[in-house]
Amino acid sequence: MSNIPKTLRYTDSHEWIQDNGDGTVTIGITDHAQEALGDVVFVELPEVGRDIETGEEFGVIESVKAASDLYAPVSGEVIETNETLEETPESVNESPYDDAWLIKVRVADATDLEALLDAEAYAHLIEAEED
């Protein structure tokens, strides 16, 4: 069973979103996503300062098996990226909710957050996928 922290919000493309309470969010991929991907060997993230739009591809995670696109869960400006992933992409597998956060975004429209899934809805989604 994969780990789905109650405090986070989710997308149907398996990103997690943490509301930092100051108009910014932190974004990563879920435990379920890292497990499905297998061993991650490379993470490509956007430049700081780039504006991303909800649903837009903002990066790529490559596992030994394949490349998988990352989709922006909210619109806003990228204010920080996790540079440690350049050297240790495997932390996406080891610590998807902590060490391996991907980017921080200043959210353009706070109502974007309301459209995201909660932990319960995300758990249902992955259960349905596994059936």
């Binding site: 297998g38 061993d39 060997v41 490379f42 490509e44 490559e62 030994v64 992409p89 495997e90």
Partner: protein
């Protein structure tokens, strides 16, 4: 995956926690709980057990089977000594590669191992080509295991000392308990190791015996692919195919000396005129090369290759991040003027041009046991 074939080890794979993928009509384990990267590293450092029962095993018997098989393959089969194994290529009339295979001289027969995806076509080719002169027996009742890595010798010695004395590309039949095993010292990882043919109904027992050793882990197709790529070995349908010639593929060494221009059994295989002319003139327009990337981004099959001046000059046919190399590794075909070692090329990945250097293969130091 219900319409896929299962190998005789399917239940054992399930018990070991395998994830399955469809491959050449079979449900095959792509990885075990260890994960592709650790399976790869374990094979390089200790020992991996691979199920390759999806591959085709064929016996050819009859009057002078070696001379007959030479009508279809590039290798010197007549000169292959009893108990020896050799790499060969089935070719087509236009000089392309129909499949690659291993051929063993078993004394009164030849024993062939062919790719799973080409198995049916190979059998048809053998039957239509030489089937009236020799008996072609497809061994659906035998499984095939590969035991690979630096500990493979020790593990085999404990199981069967006489098989552990084989050197690289030697083959013999041995008995372990009541199992008749056909053992070759060969593999597809660049490591020392053995490939073991076993009656299908005894395959699970043999696999369990091997897995009892603390150093042996089951390994899936994912790691098999990264291991063979680091070892510079071609994957049929990707790095070699119907539209690549042996010379373009850098497999001129698989054309036996006796089969070359001016030699005792010159040509005689499909496409020999094209292939032998290309071999002696070295006028092929493109060639397979090894490529090492910078950074960590894997460069995958299908990525286009560009010269420093921006001209499209080739394509990647296999690529991954090489866990043992610690860099992205790839193979591809490039125009002949870009094949020199050290040439810097660029691969297009998601709209970016990533630098790659034409590099010697294998990418790792092989550990074949030559005695």
């Amino acid at each position: 995956m219900s319409d896929l074939y299962h190998t005789p080890l399917h239940a054992l794979h399930e018990e070991c926690g395998a994830k399955f993928v469809p491959f050449a009509g079979y449900a095959m384990p792509v990885q075990f709980p260890l994960g592709v990267k650790r399976e790869h590293e374990h094979t390089r450092q200790r020992c991996g057990l691979f199920d390759v029962s999806h591959m085709g095993q064929i016996l050819i018997r009859g009057e002078n089977p070696a001379l007959m098989l030479e009508q279809l393959v590039t290798a010197d089969i007549v000169g292959l000594k009893p108990g020896a194994q050799r790499y060969a290529l089935f070719t087509s009339n236009d000089g392309g590669i129909h499949d690659d295979l291993m051929v063993v001289n078993g004394g009164d027969h030849l024993y062939l191992v062919v790719n799973a995806a080409c198995k049916d076509a190979d059998i048809a080719l053998l039957r239509s080509g030489i089937g009236t002169a020799v008996d072609i027996d497809v061994l659906d009742d035998r499984a095939l295991l590969a035991l690979q890595g630096p500990e493979a010798h020790r593990v085999m010695e404990a199981l069967c000392p006489e098989a552990s004395q084989l050197t690289f590309m030697q083959h013999r039949r041995v008995n372990v308990e009541d199992m008749e095993l056909w053992v070759s010292r060969s593999g597809y990882t660049g490591e020392d190791g053995f490939e073991i043919s076993v009656p299908a109904h005894q395959a699970e027992r043999l696999a369990r015996l091997l897995l009892e050793d603390k150093d042996v882990e089951p390994i899936g197709l994912g790691a098999r692919d990264s291991l063979r790529l680091e070892a510079g070995l071609c994957l049929y349908g990707h790095d070699i195919a119907k539209d690549t010639t042996p010379v373009e593929a850098g497999l001129g060494w698989a054309i036996g000396k006796a089969r070359r221009q001016g030699e005792e059994r010159e040509g005689g295989f499909p496409g020999a005129d094209v292939i032998l002319t290309q071999l002696s003139n070295q006028d092929q327009l493109r060639q397979r090369v090894g490529l090492i990337g910078e950074g960590r981004a894997p460069i995958r099959e299908g990525a286009l290759l560009y010269s420093e001046s921006g001209h499209e000059i080739g394509v990647v046919t296999s690529g991954t991040f090489g866990p043992s190399v610690g860099q992205p590794v790839a193979m591809g075909y490039v125009d002949r003027e870009y094949v020199s070692l050290g040439t810097v090329l660029h691969a297009e990945v998601r709209g970016k041009r990533l630098p790659l250097t034409v590099s010697k293969m294998p990418f790792i130091t092989p550990h074949y046991y030559r005695g």
